[in-house]
């Protein structure tokens, strides 16, 4: 059984030569959480996302999925992980539908109905046969979102999901994330945009220079809290 309902970082450190990307980070996220990894650029948020996605190996410490290590869970673990990063992971030469079909088949989440539904949700139902390279940034983002969620992952990892989105799109993404969490997914978002995180996240982890400064439930006045913890560095 590779499914899990919590994910933990246990004293995870990662360094590249002399540069510390992460320093003794311990964090837990559970099903239903929307965890915001907040911090300035270069803080290590992307490295944490990478470690959770099994793409980056920690130099020390462990990542556990439902108490088990990635190695013990095998390749099937990745069936439950969905990642969306800034670059969007879409093949520009393929059509929207082809992109979705490819990833659906990779995850064994086949079926035209699922793909139709995904296109519908991305408001691209009538543009399924167009190549992605002709899409605007917003359109690509919507498609990329659906692609990442096609296989209904348990662990949803978003690295800066709001970049370049207009207000309407942002609210769509936000409500989607809330839906996912309500359905039992573990949602983790890395962002440096506090206004967007405010009101969306249920837990907040403040990261700076690879270190976890605070891990607490979200409350009103996020920006003020952020400022006070981060200081002015």
């Amino acid at each position: 059984m590779t499914d899990f309902d919590s994910v933990e970082l246990l004293d995870v450190s990662r360094h590249f030569g002399r540069r510390r990307a992460l320093s003794h980070v311990s964090l837990t996220a559970r099903a239903g959480d929307i965890l915001g990894l907040l911090g300035p650029n270069g803080a290590g948020k992307s490295t944490i996302i990478g470690a959770l996605a099994t793409l980056v190996a920690p130099t020390s410490g462990e990542v556990r999925y439902g108490g088990k290590r990635a190695r013990a869970l095998g390749d099937g673990l990745r069936r439950h992980i969905g990642l969306l990063a800034h670059e969007l992971h879409l093949y520009p030469e393929l059509t929207a539908r082809q992109n979705l079909e490819f990833f659906a088949k990779l995850y064994g989440a086949d079926g035209a109905p699922a793909i139709d539904a995904a296109l519908e949700r991305a408001a691209l139902a009538d543009r399924g046969h167009e190549e992605v390279q002709g899409f605007s940034r917003g359109m690509r983002q919507r498609l990329a979102l659906e692609r990442a969620l096609l296989h209904q992952p348990r662990l949803v990892l978003f690295d800066e999901p709001f970049t370049g989105l207009d207000d309407h799109a942002v609210s769509i993404v936000a409500s989607r994330l809330r839906e996912l969490a309500a359905a039992g997914a573990i949602v983790i978002i890395a962002t440096h945009d506090l206004d967007l995180a405010d009101g969306l996240v249920t837990r907040v982890a403040l990261i700076r220079e690879g270190r976890l400064l605070s891990d607490e439930p979200a409350a009103a006045g996020l920006r003020a809290r952020y400022r006070s913890v981060m200081g002015h560095a």
């Binding site: 360094h15 590249f16 030569g17 002399r18 510390r20 320093s23 003794h24 220079e209």
Partner: protein, 218 residues
Amino acid sequence: MRKIFLPLLVVATAMFAYAPYLIDGAAYESSMGLVQKIFYFHAPSGMVMLVSAIVCGVASALYLWKRNPGADHLALASAELTVLYGLIVMLTGPLWARKAWGIWWDWDARLTMSFVGWLIAISYLFVRKYGGPGSDKLGAALAVFGTANVPFIYLSVNFWRTLHPKTSVVPTLPPLIAGPFWFSALALFLLYLLLLTARLHLERQRAALDALYLEEED
């Protein structure tokens, strides 16, 4: 190795100092004359180069599968020494060939194999230096492939050209030549061990320094 480093250094220095006398006193090879004496540098260097390459390959495999940082240091250090000893082979080989057979290079089997191995070792150093992030693992993969490649390089080059004296020359060396030969081989191998130790020490210091920097930030 630390404790015996200095005594070994003294021994090696003594050996290197004595070697020219030995080589001079060794039997004079009739067909090639004085130039044949290069043999005492060329062949042992070739042997040490091969040993060093194997060490690099094994250490790299260890690093790739166990992520042991000591293995990585060993791989890097021995790759550098492979290039160094390879340089000696590549310089002395043509010098000898020129005098012995009249041409600088003839694509003969063993020299070609050494050349290819040398290039692979050089490309390893390139990767370590210019490869960017993850170059330690790419280098390790390169070394593993390089080591696995050795039998194929050997077979393909051998079937292709042969001009070199066969390996069987070494066991059948007459005693007056064998003595100095093995002496030189030992001296060069000792030098290899000393250089390897010093280089490893440097790598370990570097790693320790990195660790200190990292701790500093904690």
